[in-house]
């Protein structure tokens, strides 16, 4: 049992931390947010120059071959800086699906360019009625000569306006199960409606009107993408927990500073016990979130198992609850100033709450865990 970072990991964390601190001031972020792309291509270029975009990608595809722990270190800093780039969706979730399901040719043609930060990926797996259940979709793939025709509507595809390839989930018209297709967004019949999300990053809806995709655009076996989707969503959940912890740490830091400086009734408001106890409670929940984020990072790349699924669900549940608590209470403890667009805290609050709307909220993961609850005569003896 060891919770220390090794030298290489510490360097990675420091590198990302420094880069984010230097290029992602809150004022800069606002400029990126207002720009047409809604993120900073320059920051992305720097991430790629430093090899950060390659961290989650396996070494055989010119990646760094990082584990859940390396992903955690990167995501935590991106969370602290409220970064708008689709790192999680492209480098971790979508690239993970390509790596797990893709043919050797697909992997070789896609992943090195993703690792280099030259190509962006994303996943279109949510629909009007799916709500974190990737199998509850209606989008259809109809076989045609030398390929398929895709029809349906996808929602809230994070980074979908910029992605060079979108991984689209669809049901086979002639069979069971969910399949994944590699979609070129420029293909005929694809229309994208872009918008910013309330917490900053841009997304789009995707309308697919009888879109032709070639035979080799099928990712993995037809109708059998569900286990890979579940597995990679687990990796995404682990990474997202880290992003939330970075943001929580920053929101907590800002709030603590504020309590020490804001004067009312002739003293810093942090002298008041009601506020002290609330901060102590928030600190406690933050600590649990950190612990579960570490656990999630350590099991994210384990082979699929009920134990892995339970731990990842527990991590997201814990982090989602902590995120909402810290978001709400940070705003409350700041008072009016915490409500303003011009103060970064408000954006952390939004990010922390809305993070839970991707890859499942606390209730969703409570349900997942509950379904996997062990009901033997003796409860599980150990975490590790």
């Amino acid at each position: 049992m060891n919770f220390e970072l090794n030298e290489e990991q510490q360097m990675l964390a420091d590198t990302v931390e420094r880069l984010v601190r230097n290029t992602y001031s809150f004022e800069q972020r606002e400029v990126f947010y207002q720009s047409p792309r809604g993120y900073s291509p320059e920051f992305w270029r720097q991430l790629s120059e430093l090899g950060i975009t390659s961290v989650p990608i396996a070494a055989e595809y010119e990646g760094f071959g990082g584990t859940g722990v390396e992903n955690m270190l990167v995501m935590k800093e991106l969370g602290r800086g409220l970064c708008l780039e689709p790192y999680l969706h492209s480098q971790i979730y979508a690239a993970g699906l390509v790596e797990q399901l893709g043919s050797a040719e697909q992997r070789q043609s896609i992943l090195p360019a993703v690792a280099a930060g030259e190509r962006l990926l994303t996943v279109a797996d949510e629909e009007a009625g799916s709500h974190y259940h990737p199998e509850a979709i209606e989008c259809q793939a109809v076989p045609c000569e030398r390929g398929w025709r895709l029809s349906g509507h996808k929602r809230v595809v994070i980074g979908g306006e910029l992605a060079h390839i979108i991984l689209v989930t669809a049901r086979m018209s002639d069979g069971e199960g969910v399949s994944l297709f590699l979609l070129d967004p420029a293909a005929e019949g694809v229309s994208r409606t872009g918008y910013p999300c309330i917490d900053g990053p841009r997304a789009c809806d995707l309308a697919l009107a009888d879109v032709y995709v070639e035979a080799d655009s099928l990712l993995g076996p037809a109708g059998k993408a569900a286990p890979a989707l579940a597995y990679q969503r687990g990796r995404a959940v682990a990474a997202q927990c880290a992003e939330a912890v970075g943001s929580m740490e920053e929101a907590f830091r800002l709030t603590l500073d504020y309590l020490k400086t804001r004067q009312q009734f002739g003293s810093p408001i942090g002298r008041f016990q009601a506020l002290q106890h609330r901060m102590a409670e928030m600190r406690g929940e933050l600590e649990l979130a950190r612990s579960m984020t570490i656990l999630a990072a350590c099991v994210a790349d384990d082979p699929d198992s009920e134990s892995r699924s339970r731990r990842l669900a527990a991590a997201k549940f814990t982090v989602a609850r902590a995120s909402q608590l810290i978001a709400e209470q940070s705003v409350q403890l700041h008072g009016g100033i915490g409500m303003t667009w011009e103060y970064s805290l408000a954006h952390h609050a939004k990010r922390l709450v809305m993070l839970t709307h991707q890859f499942g909220d606390d209730d969703f993961h409570l349900g997942q865990y509950s379904a996997l609850l062990e009901v033997p005569r003796q409860a599980s003896q150990q975490v590790a």
Binding site: A280, V375, R377, V383
Partner: protein, 398 residues
């Protein structure tokens, strides 16, 4: 980063488990599992079994008869003991006064008291709280006045856990009333048989006689029973508190309790359906189990950080709060799992020597009583509110 125990630690776990299988009396484990009250003899029996193996004084330095285990081993040991249904050790002697004597006591005190603790010849209780000194412990008033080679002790202690079993009490007493609050306090070892001591039971809301009031009326205590320097008792008190708080998260206890909760929830049925299959109730159990997992991970992080003998800092305050709340929440669900069957107050069924036919099931009598008894967890050892004050002051620097 690695969340796994080492092969040596896993081997140690197996060794502990095997020892417990062979040496923990089944009847005793059953009493613990069912939440029965334990007799003095139950505790002493288990202490002696542990001592025979050399596993009783796990927190002592090796030269005094300790085990030399790492904090991780101690954690594993606690967890296995709790899972097997071993009685929770009464801490006052072996884990509270002993470390103070080892750290601050004279050679004569060490030579006399430590072996007696190891052999379960002495039962210690704690004379800290007073009617007017609870969370504000340093405001304690029990006086010890020097009278030749004795102290003359007058005053009252309260919430003295299992004082009715004790032949010795360690007390914080005021030796210098003119000094500032924390100064002027001394740490005294007192023989309960000394004339002038009266012990009166306090019956708690669950009907149990677990705590007492202890009155001191001109009690003569030899000066050689002073531990450390006169008026420096607060140093001993603080040192002891760090020992008291370590392990207060009670992960092992909570895991065992959660396992018992699942058993109850599987056995109790509503319209033929086990309670645990009711989605709402099941989700409540799931929620607790996830929280316990999170507190366990935090505990392991602190253990790993203090593995080389460091004293856990204010993080232990967080764990005390979270651990006690979970433990309370588990008994809350146990009680709820029983529905109306939790209502009958069946004191005889809670007694250590109960061998009759239970009114309902063997597990039915205890949960409601336990639920009320365990309200103490967030009150004692520095109330959870005091812990939050500590976090605010020491961690957040507010």
């Amino acid at each position: 980063m690695d969340i796994h125990f080492t092969p040596e630690e896993l081997a140690f776990r197996s060794e502990v488990r095997a020892f417990l299988e062979q040496n923990l009396p089944a009847g005793l484990a059953e009493k613990v599992r069912l939440g029965r009250r334990l007799a003095k003899e139950d505790h002493q029996r288990w202490q002696k079994i542990l001592n025979q193996k050399g596993w009783y004084a796990v927190n002592w330095p090796e030269e005094y008869g300790g085990t030399g285990w790492s904090v991780v081993q101690k954690h594993i040991f606690d967890e296995e003991c709790a899972a097997a249904g071993a009685p929770r050790l009464v801490a006052f002697g072996v884990n509270m006064v002993a470390p103070v004597i080892i750290k601050f006591g004279t050679q004569t005190q060490k030579d006399y008291y430590l072996p007696r603790i190891l052999r379960s010849e002495d039962w210690w209780c704690q004379g800290y709280s007073e009617p007017g000194a609870g969370s504000d412990l340093a405001s304690l008033k029990t006086r010890a006045e020097r009278d030749g080679d004795h102290y003359l002790v007058n005053g009252q202690k309260t919430w003295t856990t299992l004082g009715q079993h004790a032949n010795r009490i360690f007390c914080l007493v005021r030796t210098d009333p003119s000094a500032k609050k924390q100064e002027g306090i001394s740490f005294l070892l007192i023989d309960m048989d000394t004339p002038g001591i009266t012990v009166r039971p306090i019956i708690t809301l669950d009907g149990e006689h677990e705590v007492n009031e202890v009155f001191f009326d001109n009690v003569r205590v030899p000066v050689e029973n002073l531990v450390g320097e006169e008026n420096k008792g607060w140093t001993c008190a603080k040192y002891l508190l760090t020992h008291e708080r370590t392990g207060q998260a009670g992960i092992g206890q909570s895991k065992a309790a959660l396992a018992h909760l699942k058993q109850i929830a599987s056995a109790e049925t509503v319209a033929g359906q086990p309670r645990i299959d009711d989605p709402l109730f099941r989700a409540r159990i799931a929620e607790l189990e996830m929280r316990l997992m999170a507190v366990e991970m935090s505990t392991l992080r602190i253990l790993a950080a203090t593995r080389d003998g460091g004293v856990p800092g204010a993080e232990s305050s967080l764990l005390k709060i979270q651990g006690s709340e979970i433990r309370q929440a588990i008994t809350d669900l146990m009680r709820k799992a029983l529905g109306p069957n939790a209502l009958p107050f069946l004191e005889p069924e809670l007694e250590p020597d109960f061998h009759g036919e239970p009114l309902y099931q063997d597990y039915s009598a205890s949960p409601a009583s336990q639920y009320f008894n365990l309200r103490k967890l967030s009150i004692y050892g520095g109330s959870n509110e005091i812990q939050k004050n500590i976090i605010a002051k020491l961690v957040l620097e507010l």
